[in-house]
């Protein structure tokens, strides 16, 4: 336990979407914390709730979905119970977000300068001229050539990679303490992906910014993050430092994700895809949600799996699984005779 107050602390966050066929628990009992300057990789397949986690933190869950429980402490203040004006003042100012699809994030009918300047003016009393200069600077920082000209352009005049750079410039313009980046490279070409990744990484290091990088790609997170949290069916199933988690994955799902990455394997060795697909969030079992797809499923998996420290890297490496758990009913049963 660190004595320093973390920048962000998420406690037992729960977000649900009522649908005609039941309640979808998109985020269920998610907890993690993040120190200033730290980079967290939030990893999982699509539909596991990682994007909704990001939206829940910023209070951007669209109705009828809503956060039904938990705490999101940002610098010690709970964002979930904060009044809307105070939350608005933090959003886009101290806490910013970059979205997945740059083609959809920028408003198509507003010029780039408008979209940059309004972000400044929403949070500080700044003249248009001064805001314009800041906007110019911000575009330069994300590597856009001839920023003065590009400021007058509309989003459709930019390529996807350029648009994502603009979105990053907007998110960073108020020098936030924390950025939540929701798969910002997924929709881009592979070469552009690397550029954007490098850009975000450089800016974070340079400014001591914290970053939550949401991704389905463990290999990207491996090279970027300090710590990693693996999500499955709305829950974090394993979390820890990148080194501990990737070198000694404790959850079968994490092992599965690693097995499905070509780069981490030797050439010619077979990839080991995880069989099956992510379960529906509507009818999750009482026990482990991964049991259907798990090669090491056993009797205990019908019970809710425990969340415990595995001890590869001190108390910070945690897993939510019956395997290797001291009080596993199976182990007790095995030990009995």
């Amino acid at each position: 336990m660190s004595m320093v107050q973390p920048l962000l602390e998420v406690n037992k966050l729960q977000t649900q979407f009522p649908t005609s066929s039941g309640i979808a628990k998109a985020v269920d009992d998610v907890s993690f914390s993040l120190a200033a300057g730290e980079i967290l990789g939030l990893v999982g397949e699509s539909g596991c709730g990682k994007t909704v986690t990001g939206f829940s933190i910023l209070g951007l869950v669209d109705p009828p979905g809503r956060v039904v429980g938990g705490q999101v402490l940002f610098k010690g203040e709970d964002l979930l119970t904060m009044d809307t004006e105070r939350l608005r003042a933090i959003r886009g100012n101290r806490l910013a977000m970059i979205f997945q699809d740059p083609m959809m994030t920028l408003n198509p009918v507003l010029r780039i300068d408008t979209q940059l300047i309004e972000t400044l003016q929403a949070h500080q009393d700044i003249s248009r001229a001064a805001a314009y200069d800041r906007a110019l600077e911000a575009l330069g920082e994300v590597g856009i050539a001839e920023p003065a000209q590009r400021l007058r352009a509309y989003p459709h005049q930019f390529s996807g990679g350029m648009r994502q750079r603009v979105a990053i410039a907007i998110a960073l313009i108020n020098r936030p303490d924390l950025i939540i980046a929701d798969e910002p490279t997924t929709a881009l070409d592979v070469t552009i992906q690397g550029q954007i990744l490098a850009l975000v990484q450089a800016l974070c290091r340079e400014r001591q910014m914290s970053l939550i990088w949401i991704s389905h790609d463990l290999s990207v997170v491996a090279g970027l993050a300090d710590r990693v949290a693996v999500m499955y069916a709305g829950k974090i199933v394993e979390s820890g430092t990148v080194r501990a988690t990737l070198d000694h994955p404790a959850h079968p799902y994490t092992r599965g994700l690693l097995g499905a990455i070509p780069a981490l394997h030797e050439r010619g060795s077979r990839l080991l895809p995880i069989p099956g697909t992510t379960p529906s969030l509507l009818n999750l079992p009482a026990g482990c949600a991964f049991a259907d797809r798990c090669a090491q499923v056993h009797g205990a998996c019908a019970l809710p799996p425990p969340d415990f420290a595995v001890g590869h890297d001190g108390p910070s490496h945690r897993v939510r699984c019956w395997l290797n758990h001291a009080n596993s009913p199976n182990r007790i049963a095995d030990a009995a005779p």
Binding site: R91, V109, Q157
Partner: protein, 325 residues
């Protein structure tokens, strides 16, 4: 922009030409143009004069050219009833109709957009549902019946508003208008509201649907993530996007306002060209009917042109694609 304008102007010219051809063919399809252009009571000399003026003894394509020539000069023949040029009659009544249609359009926009936004932002609220219910009624009730009910309520029962005529008119840039005097304004209010009702409903529906769609877009979520105040998100990010289809539809609907003014003008005895049309149809005053038709078609073409220009001004994507080619 200049190229764009020129090309649109050219297109409009073509449409007008095609429509004039259609009307010309229409006249022939109905029967002898002599019957259509010349009053049944005309004497032999007048018939001969008109036949010569319109070249009715010439081959068909020459006749079309002459007809075109006359039409360009604004000559559609004389009204059988009034004995004056048909086009002059229409033009004289045009300001009253345009004033009515403009006021109705302003009503439709100034009521429809805020109500539609409200209903779109709170679709489940009581007020949101009430707005939608009203707009469904506004859609299905026949305009003339609503007009009657307005007269029954405000003229007969309450006696607040006059039920017919334009009232006192004031000259504005040489054109007589009603809205500048209190008396004229009172006369204008009911017909304009009546004419606007359908369009208000239409604008409410469009705005509501557009708002609901825009709210689901990433750019709106991103705008909120930037910490913008909700007023700015709604009135800049949402409104500016939905304004594009709304302006297009409203612009195109202006033509239908002029067409529907026929009904409203007849109910409220508003002295516009729609009322003139009905009188002319009843009196078989064909030159006036033809002149009305071509005037309205010309108005439609102009409106389409204006809408196209407005559309390109509002939507940066259109503007660029036009510059590119």
């Amino acid at each position: 922009m200049l190229v764009f304008l020129l090309r649109r102007l050219l297109q409009s010219g073509v449409v007008l030409l095609v429509m004039s051809l259609l009307v010309f063919v229409g006249i022939y399809a109905i029967g002898n143009p002599v019957d259509i252009l010349i009053s049944p009571e005309a004497d032999q000399a007048e018939i001969a004069r008109t036949i010569a003026a319109f070249g009715l003894d010439q081959p068909l394509w020459t006749q079309y050219l002459i007809y075109l020539q006359q039409a360009v000069r604004g000559n559609f023949g004389n009204s059988f009833v009034h004995g004056t040029p048909a086009l002059a009659l229409i033009v004289q009544r045009l300001p009253a109709t345009l004033e009515l249609a403009c006021v109705a359009l302003i009503l439709a926009v100034s009521l429809g957009i805020p109500l539609g936004l409200w209903a779109g932002l709170r679709p489940a609220s009581k007020s949101g549902r009430a707005i939608m219910g009203l707009s469904i009624l506004g859609f299905s009730l026949p305009t003339f019946w609503v007009g009657l009910m307005l007269i029954m309520l405000f003229s007969v029962q309450l006696g607040w508003l006059p039920s017919n005529g334009r009232g006192a008119t004031t000259e504005l840039l040489g054109v007589p208008v009603s809205f500048l005097s209190w008396d004229g304004f009172k006369h204008l209010l009911m017909p304009a509201a009546n004419l606007a009702l359908f369009k208000i409903s239409l604008v409410i529906r469009l705005t509501r649907a557009g708002t609901q769609e825009a709210l689901l877009q990433d750019y709106v979520r991103f705008a909120r993530a930037k910490g913008l105040r909700s007023a700015r998100v709604v009135f800049v990010h949402v409104l500016k996007n939905i304004l594009i289809p709304i302006v297009t539809v409203i612009g195109l609907e202006f033509g239908s306002l002029i067409a529907f003014a026929v009904v409203t003008e007849s109910i409220f005895a508003w002295p516009g060209m729609g009322k003139l049309l009905i009188e002319s149809i009843n009196l078989l005053d064909r030159p006036v009917v033809v002149a009305y038709l071509l005037t309205v078609v010309a108005l439609f073409v102009v409106i389409n042109l204006v809408v196209d220009i407005l559309y390109s001004l509002l939507d940066p994507r259109i503007r660029l694609s036009d510059q590119a080619d």
